[in-house]
């Protein structure tokens, strides 16, 4: 029974991990129809912020929860102002330009910090016992943080003025600007927030995975297929896709090992897209956030 | 204008055709029949459902309910290429063209679908002449004026020699002179083909039509000649709104 609970928790962690790394991308894609191929690098930058700051003596929680999202948020705003905004409506060009940005960041970080990490930091929470089994306390914490983050995003979209304005601009940009909303500012803030969420995720994951300039590549495929499988709705899409794909991954990893777990996840995504070409929330939960 | 014989077969038919978008009934239980060699115009105010109905015929939309038959082939929900493959020429409301290709290529691609190389070349030449597109045959279509683009699209339709032609607003955005030429072309096409034309331009319709189908709120309100419809108070109400 305890083993079962521990394994279920593993799968739940996998699902929440998928949601955590995908949420920022989903915000940007859901709001602006921009696919940010530098997403993995935003995660990487968040991770580096935490590692570098912690090694410089900053409290690890401060680094993870404040510094990482702040820094990457600023990077996001700059990216939007300098790169993305020239390319609205040009989806393929946005993909290509953000791919260039991704390479640029990898190159930049490699130039500054070298190709491998100097030191890693260990998870700030120890193991937790469930009966006879131990699970990572930090993983449990991350599950909680992910849920809290999803809730925070939902509350923002649903109840704040920014959220309302953003949703309006997302649905009908022309109408929103006719009503006096500066869509430019909305996009800038949205991109910045999406980046900040991503930076937070990257920072939180740094103790788990370590940081390398190229670590973005590990995340990028999973984040993409989650967002694309999820469809246009930010929260419902991410949550449903993460649950489905993360669940498939978790179950198959348990049965056959991580390699085939990933393959199964990919196949599941491909089949899903064949059945629902606009993602889950393109076909069901269509009006949700 | 050819008068359809009383016994001419029915070539396009819909039964109980409906198209709903969420709660909106764009097309509501429409029964429609078209005979061979007819030239039928579909009219109605904005939002009446004519273009939606049209798209159900071309396969661009899958009807929510009902049947569509083209020459006894059931085509409701069929792919557009399958419907076009029955010999149907289609011109859409917003011109659908290949902006980076020249006029000649447009006609060639249209004709080559049905004929081998030699006959295709013949048809392309003929069509260029017929639509007086010869001078601009090497022009990139993306750079042409709106009226010329409409004609290129008509040219594509004509070059394929279809037996059924569906046109959505062929005269949209045209000058008076262009409209008259288009009407002439349509009457000419009608000599060999059956036509359905969706239009707004009343003058244009008068130039070409025999029977006109008036749509209103997703249904067919009336089907008669243009004179009869113009005289009918119900039709006027539909266009001018309800007088309090």
């Amino acid at each position: 029974m305890d083993l079962f609970a521990a394994q279920i928790l593993q799968i739940v962690y996998g699902i929440s991990n998928l949601a955590l790394i995908s949420l920022g991308l989903a915000i940007i894609f859901g709001m602006m129809r921009v696919i940010n191929l530098a997403h993995g690098e935003f995660l990487m930058l968040g991770g580096y912020t935490v590692v570098v700051a912690t090694n410089a003596g900053v409290n690890v929680w401060l680094a993870m929860l404040v510094l990482a999202p702040l820094l990457v948020g600023v990077v996001g705003v700059l990216t939007e102002r300098l790169l993305i905004r020239w390319l609205y409506g040009r989806m393929i060009d946005t993909l290509l330009a953000t791919w260039g940005l991704s390479l640029f960041f990898i190159g930049l970080v490699t130039s500054i910090f070298g190709a491998s990490t100097s030191t890693t930091i260990s998870p700030p929470l120890g193991p937790v016992r469930i009966g006879e089994y131990q699970v990572s306390g930090y993983e449990m914490f991350l599950i909680g943080v992910t849920l809290a983050l999803l809730l925070a995003v939902w509350l923002t979209l649903r109840f704040t003025k920014l959220g309302l304005v953003s949703r309006g601009a997302m649905q009908n940009a022309e109408m929103a600007s006719a009503l006096g909303v500066s869509t430019r500012r909305v996009y800038m803030i949205t991109f910045g927030l999406g980046a900040a969420v991503t930076g937070l995720a990257g920072g939180l994951l740094a103790p788990m995975t370590g940081v390398l300039p190229t670590i973005g590549a590990v995340y990028i495929a999973k984040a993409f297929i989650t967002v694309i499988s999820g469809g246009a709705a930010i929260l419902a899409g991410t949550a449903s896709a993460a649950t489905l794909l993360g669940g498939v991954n978790g179950v198959f990893t348990f049965l056959t090992g991580p390699t085939f777990g990933e393959v199964a996840m990919l196949l599941a995504a491909i089949v899903l897209l064949r059945l629902m070409p606009r993602g889950i929330t393109g076909s069901i939960f269509r009006k949700s956030l | 204008m050819t008068r359809p014989g009383k016994r001419a077969e029915i070539v396009v038919e819909t039964r109980g055709l409906s198209m709903h978008f969420g709660g909106v009934r764009a097309v509501d239980q429409v029964d429609f029949a078209l005979r061979r060699n007819e030239l039928r115009c579909l009219i109605g105010p904005n939002g009446a459902g004519k273009s939606t109905f049209f798209k159900c015929l071309t396969g661009q939309l899958t009807p929510t309910a009902g049947e569509v038959t083209i020459r006894d082939h059931p085509v409701a929900g069929a792919e557009p290429h399958a419907i076009a493959g029955l010999g149907v020429g289609i011109k859409t409301q917003v011109p659908n063209l290949f902006d980076d290709l020249d006029v000649h290529e447009h006609l060639w691609i249209a004709a080559r679908r049905w004929h081998p190389e030699a006959r295709t070349r013949q048809l392309v030449s003929q069509t260029l002449e017929r639509l007086r597109l010869g001078d601009i045959r090497r022009e990139i279509v993306g750079r042409l004026a709106h009226g010329q683009r409409q004609w290129v699209e008509l040219g594509m339709v004509v070059a394929a020699e279809p037996w059924l032609v569906l046109l959505d607003e062929p005269a949209a955005g045209m000058t008076h002179e262009e409209t008259a030429r288009t009407a002439e072309l349509i009457r000419e096409i009608n000599k060999d083909a059956t036509l359905v034309v969706v239009e707004h331009d009343m003058q244009f319709i008068r130039m070409i039509s025999e029977t006109v189908t008036l749509f209103h709120e997703g249904r067919i309100l009336m089907e008669d000649t243009m004179e009869a419809i113009s005289a009918d108070p119900r039709a006027r109400e539909v266009y001018l709104g309800h007088r309090a």
Binding site: W86, R90, S102, L103, G107, A221 | F98, L101
Partner: protein, 346 residues
């Protein structure tokens, strides 16, 4: 509309290429010849993407999936069957079959362009992840060990009639250049057939092509499969050059480079991306030697600069400059896509 349609231009190009092929081993070092064979493989990969993307409008971020499949399939087949010619055909067939399956899902399922692009990248990355984990002796196909992240040996080419008549590097180079020239001519011919011309119309306006009674899904499927076979051919030469194939053929960097070559070289052309591959390869090699400018950094800046400033790539822009000097440009030009208003594009 592009250089290759001008027959005289094509003949000149091929003549130059043939000349280069013949004289190169005379004045270039052996190591350079071997490297060149690899770059030829990469150029064939670029050509395949130029075909399906530039002419067919099929944006595939993961063309490396077929490139790598071809390389590995060749290595496995040649190790098992001992004959290079058959193995090359097998490699191309495997890639084409896989592309057909993937394409069936995508094109018949009406998956959108953008999604498709990312899915193909994901496939390539999954191959990369999978192959890297095949290090143990149990991971084998017939006699061929897959070798994990170290990769596996790719047997050298042999004469079709003599299984032990292995080719020297210079001879492999000749075959590679021959393959590149043939592939280029094939693509040039293909885009002028009815099939190719229909594919171009699908790129321009798929709806209109459908309304003209063309089943666009089939055309895309066909073109995509042909592109995969060509990419696989590139993979073969990339690996026989150094007699090795590693999982890096599937990597994100390789996938990015392929896109970059096509963008920089010119998306509407066939020769542009080929030339860009050679140019950029030697540029990044010379950069790789020094410490100041990181390769990724340069590539990233290059990509961003081109997307923002020169969206059509070098060759079309250069040709444009040439055409503007002539009073009547008879050739059609690719115009940059008009930016649509920022509305949700599904």
């Amino acid at each position: 509309m592009i250089l290759s349609q001008d027959l005289r231009g094509t003949a000149i190009l091929c003549g130059l290429a043939a000349l280069f092929t013949l004289i190169a081993p005379g004045f270039l070092a052996l190591f350079t010849i071997i490297t060149l064979t690899q770059v030829i493989g990469l150029a064939i990969l670029a050509l395949s993407l130029a075909l399906i993307w530039g002419y067919g409008g099929i944006l595939c971020f993961g063309q490396t999936a077929f490139f790598g499949l071809g390389a590995y399939a060749y290595a496995v087949a040649a190790t098992n069957f001992g004959d290079a010619s058959v193995s090359i055909l097998i490699a191309m067939a495997v890639a084409a079959a896989f592309a057909a399956a993937l394409g069936y899902f995508a094109f018949f399922g009406r998956v959108s362009d953008v999604y498709f692009a990312v899915i193909t990248l994901t496939v390539s990355l999954i191959f990369w992840a999978l192959i890297r984990r095949t290090s143990g002796p149990e991971y084998r196909i017939g006699d061929a060990l897959l070798g994990g992240f170290n990769g596996t040996g790719a047997p050298p080419l042999n004469l079709p009639w003599n299984p032990s008549g292995f080719l020297f590097p210079e001879q492999t180079f000749y075959v590679a250049m021959g393959a590149l020239i043939l592939a280029y001519l094939f693509c040039g011919w293909l885009v002028r057939t009815r099939f190719g011309r229909v594919c171009v119309t699908i790129r321009e306006n798929e709806t209109r092509a459908e309304l003209l009674a063309y089943d666009t899904r089939l055309y895309k499927l066909g073109l995509f499969s042909i592109g995969a076979a060509i990419a696989a051919l590139g993979g073969v030469f990339f690996s026989v050059g150094i007699s090795r194939v590693t999982p890096d053929v599937f990597s994100l960097q390789q996938a990015a480079l392929t896109i970059i070559w096509v963008i920089v070289g010119g998306r509407g052309t066939l020769i542009g991306p080929i030339l860009a591959t050679f140019a950029l390869y030697f540029l990044t090699s010379s950069l790789g030697g020094q410490v100041l400018l990181n390769t990724n950094l340069v590539l990233g800046v290059l990509l961003m600069a081109f997307v923002l400033g020169v969206p059509r790539g070098v060759l079309p822009s250069v040709m444009d400059l040439g055409a503007r000097r002539r009073p009547t440009g008879r050739r059609g030009r690719r115009r940059p896509r008009r930016a649509a208003p920022a509305e949700p594009a599904e």
